[in-house]
Amino acid sequence: MEKEFTTTSPDETIARGKEFVASLEAGEVVCLQGDLGAGKTHFVKGMAEGLGIESDDVSSPTFTLINEYDGDKLLYHFDCYRMESPREALEIGAEEYFYGDGVTVIEWPERIEPLIPPEAIWISIEAPDKNTRKFVIRKREP
């Protein structure tokens, strides 16, 4: 399955994240790929809003590696930017989250790719210009 859409502002990215999360169930893993400033954290803010979490509570977990937010469902927000190997993710218990009781969203997933469940949803974000963001959502058919 593949789906594409384009946004033209951070607010629209947040709205799309909110819309997207409605289709997810606990235990699902979402991988967000995109450059620095692509809007990954904004998309996660939208996902959080959709789960009944205040989007202001969502901040970048680059240093803290994982943020947890509690809404209608739990949201685990990973940022693997600082991780150099999948082993580092294992050491902090990453797999406990992937197969846990919440929705997991991962920024910079390519750093820990071998650990990511095969049924994960992959979203790539590209920035053709300053305001436009192109999203491609891919999910393997069951």
């Binding site: 509570d57 803290t64 994982i66 902090i92």
Partner: protein, 339 residues
């Protein structure tokens, strides 16, 4: 009371000893491991707290010239942080407390950053603390020990993270904060006017837009590489200016709002030269006393956990043996409501 402090909330495993005579030792795991194996041991990941915690605690006791039987309480970071990492420290601390029959103290890592100011100094209450690190950016009003009001925090990137990520865009090595700081000293802060976000809000911060703005500022140049080469110091200075201006303006708002006469900086970014200068000037202009801890007490460390633990024992703020870690401050609030 003689306190053993243990910190394992994120990257560092650390231990420290604090007694009525002051701080006796302050050890970070990497040091302990290097000493034991004589050199750098790269395969020992910094976050492998379970492998390093015992050596780190042992070294803290040795350097503090104290034995475990003379420790009266164990203070450990309860959160915020990574649940797995926090659990290692907490379980280890509980084990020590149970075997020695001594009390346990659960320390909030964010509080500890503030009380790091009390290791070498005696700031007066009430005070406002600006806690700025790679993971956090917070303005806190402290009216008395452990009486805190969170005035505002970042809505996206932390200030230290903004330095590091902009450094990456500029092609600087990670962590880029110290490099940008040094280059800024040789550059022109008014070279380019980068946006200072959220000035319409009194105490909240946002730094993710600045990152994007730097990226597109460079892309707009005819020859990005050449431009970057010729103006790196100026860009670093302009970025530092944008970040520190916002921090200091909000700090001024907090001083005016609360009417405090004491200001404290905390967290690793408090080492930033431009921030220090601006904070010093602000303190002078507002008639405040400014406190900044030594750098070793600003980055994640156990000395700040030990002193905070010591202050908590004075108020009889002990934890039960069923104490659980908390990942973030919201989770702590929920835990307190349930009690």
């Amino acid at each position: 009371m003689n306190i053993l402090g243990i910190e394992s909330s994120c990257d560092e495993t650390a231990a420290a000893v604090y007694t009525p005579d002051g701080l006796q030792s302050n050890i970070i795991a990497s040091q302990a491991i290097h000493e034991q194996y004589g050199g750098v041991v790269p395969e020992l990941a910094s976050r492998a707290h379970h492998k390093t915690i015992w050596h780190t605690v042992q070294q803290a006791l040795n350097e503090g010239s104290i034995t475990l039987s003379d420790i009266d309480a164990v203070a450990v970071t309860q959160g915020p942080g990574l649940m797995g990492s926090l659990l290692v420290g907490i379980c280890f601390a509980k084990g020590l407390c149970l075997s020695r029959n001594i009390p346990l103290v659960g320390v909030n890592h964010m509080d500890a950053h503030i009380y790091a100011n009390f290791i070498d100094d005696q700031p007066e209450y009430p005070l406002v603390s600006l806690t700025v690190s790679g993971g956090h950016t917070q303005l806190v009003h402290v009216t008395a020990p452990f009486e805190h009001e969170l005035l505002g925090q970042t809505r996206d990137d932390a200030a230290g993270e903004a330095f590091d990520k902009i450094g990456k865009i500029l092609g600087l090595p990670y962590p880029a904060g110290p490099v940008i700081d040094e280059r800024s000293e040789h550059g022109d802060p008014s070279f380019h006017d980068f946006p200072q976000a959220m000035l319409d809000n009194d105490f909240e911060f946002s730094f993710s837009g600045l990152k994007t703005s730097v990226k597109y500022f460079l892309e707009d140049q005819d020859n990005r590489e050449e431009f970057l080469k010729n103006h790196l110091d100026d860009i670093c200075a302009s970025v530092s200016h944008a970040i520190t201006e916002v921090l200091v303006k909000k700090l001024r708002n907090a001083i005016e709002h609360t009417g405090v006469k004491t200001v404290a900086l905390a967290g690793g970014v408090s080492a930033n030269s431009m921030l220090r200068r601006k904070a010093e000037k602000l303190a002078e202009n507002t008639g405040c006393n400014l406190h900044i801890p030594k750098l070793a007490y600003c980055t994640d460390n156990a000395a700040m956990i030990a002193i905070t633990g010591s202050m908590m024992t004075q108020q009889k703020l002990y934890a039960d043996m069923d104490m659980k870690p908390f990942a973030n401050l919201k989770a702590l609030e929920r835990m307190n409501v349930q009690r």
